[in-house]
């Protein structure tokens, strides 16, 4: 990352090779559109490039950080496309995204990531749908309740339960 902060193009190329595939996959999942997803990949790397200096290593894994940015950018774009007002006060401008979104210390191993992938598929439909709307569409609990025409309390419980299941899968 320090090489990136120093403007090292080679470091940028290495970072691209390592993470672009994952970033693109996440962006495609959120946006369901190849062109938009590629735009997001571009934005992520530009943002990382500009903010490399302010990324301290104690904040966590670079790869995980990239995916956090990828999700944020993708959801911003999704909101714009859906002409959906941002009910969460403000979209994450770059500086806030840098500081406030938690980043895990380490990347999950392939095996751990696979476990989550399977656990997600195995969730009861109602729980999975609610969680996916929250994560891959960036909806708030109220928005999800509206979308599913379910009571807010029900939605909260479903998401909490789903998250608990996934946490347990990671622990075992």
């Amino acid at each position: 990352m320090s090489r990136l902060a120093a403007g090292d193009m080679e470091a940028a190329a290495e970072l691209y090779d390592r993470y672009a595939g994952q970033i693109l996959a996440l962006a495609r999942r959120i946006l369901r559109n190849d062109g938009d997803a590629e735009d997001v990949v571009q934005e992520v790397f530009s943002q990382v490039w500009r903010n490399a200096r302010s990324f301290e290593s104690h904040r966590g894994s670079v790869g995980a950080w990239l995916l956090v940015i990828a999700r944020t950018r993708s959801i911003d774009r999704l909101r714009a496309r859906q002409a959906r007002p941002d009910n969460v006060a403000e979209a994450y401008p770059e500086s806030i995204a840098d500081r406030s979104v938690p980043v895990p210390d380490q990347l999950l191993s392939e095996e751990q990531a696979a476990r989550i992938r399977q656990a997600l598929v195995a969730l009861p439909d109602a729980q999975r749908t609610a969680l996916e709307l929250a994560y891959y569409e960036g909806l708030t609990q109220s928005e999800i309740a509206q979308r599913l025409t379910e009571p807010l309390g029900t939605v909260k419980t479903r998401i909490r339960t789903a998250l608990m299941t996934l946490r347990q899968r990671l622990r075992s």
Binding site: A6, G7, D8, M9, E10, A12, A13, Y16, A20, G21, Q22, L24, A25, L26, R28, R29, E38, V41, Q42, F45, S46, W49, R50, A64, L67, V68, A70, R71, T72, V88, A89, E90, Y92, S100, V101, P102, V103, P104, L107, L108, Q112, A113, R115, I116, R117, L120, L131, A134, Y135, Y136, L139, T140, Q141, I159, R160, L163, L166, R167, L170, R171
Partner: protein, 264 residues
């Protein structure tokens, strides 16, 4: 720290991790988590779950043009340069525009840039998409070379060499990007058709001994490109890059006239 507060925040940790909280709510959570190891631990787990959700969509192989686009854009950003700059930094100046432009032109990605800039009518867009798929198919032939080309362009020891010619080659423009550690990228435009039954061969001359870098490939009449690793057994001395025309298949040593040449 009241249990009420703890319970209240604890219930919000999931929403916090999902990014569903307002700025104020986020601050409240962060303030509490700082002092509560139980919540901190739960938040760590939730953060890992979030990362797992990010990884759930299986990784894909990005299309080739995307790497060029991303790195090309970064190179325009302030501060971009290749590592361990020897003499002058190509990237610190606007010459990067020329570098990117010639590579893009030769690889036919200019169309891609146009598509990105104007998404006008659906018809235009669809036509552009078709051309793009066609180009991508041709680009796939060069796929191994695109990575090498990019690595040459980003090499710290890369130097740019302008080639010039005379007579029929006076109007040709050719540029070589030479990295002793990575290889040679040569792009040529407005090349006359070689004399009948001849092909273009590229040479790297160290001192006085020419070593073949390979045959110039052409995707379209008038355009030529070569991407090659550094030729072995290059004698020390000033580097000259030259293009001659040779019999089909090329020769181990140049026999034809030098059509284009340039030196460091």
């Amino acid at each position: 720290m009241s249990t009420n507060r703890h319970d209240a925040v604890s219930a919000l940790l999931g929403e916090y991790a999902l990014g569903q909280l307002s700025t104020q709510e986020r601050r409240d959570v962060e303030e509490h988590v700082r002092d509560c190891s139980e919540c901190a631990s739960e938040l760590r787990e939730l953060t890992a779950v979030m990362h797992g959700l990010a990884r759930a969509p299986e990784s894909v192989v990005p299309p080739l043009h995307l790497k060029q686009r991303v790195l090309g854009t970064l190179a325009h950003e302030p501060g971009a340069h290749a590592p361990r700059i020897a003499h002058r930094s190509v990237f610190a100046s606007r010459t990067w525009l020329a570098v990117a432009a010639s590579l893009i032109v030769v690889l036919g990605s200019a169309l891609f840039l146009t598509v990105q800039r104007q998404r006008q009518t659906t018809d235009e867009f669809r036509r552009a998409q078709n051309e793009l798929s066609e180009l991508r198919a041709r680009l796939d032939d060069f796929s191994g070379q695109t990575d090498l080309a990019l690595s040459i362009l980003t090499a710290g020891d890369m130097k740019r060499i302008e080639l010039a010619g005379s007579d029929a080659w006076r109007a040709s423009s050719a540029r070589a990007y030479w990295s002793p550690s990575r290889g040679l990228l040569l792009v040529a435009d407005q090349l006359p058709v070689p004399p009948p039954g001849r092909i273009y061969q590229v040479w790297v001359i160290g001192g006085t001994t020419p070593v073949s870098a390979g045959l110039l490939g052409s995707q379209r009449p008038g355009r030529g490109m070569l991407v090659a690793p550094p030729p072995s057994a290059l004698a020390p001395g000033t580097v000259t890059v030259a293009v001659t025309d040779e019999p089909p298949g090329g020769l181990p040593a140049p026999s034809g006239s030098i059509r284009l040449a340039g030196s460091l």
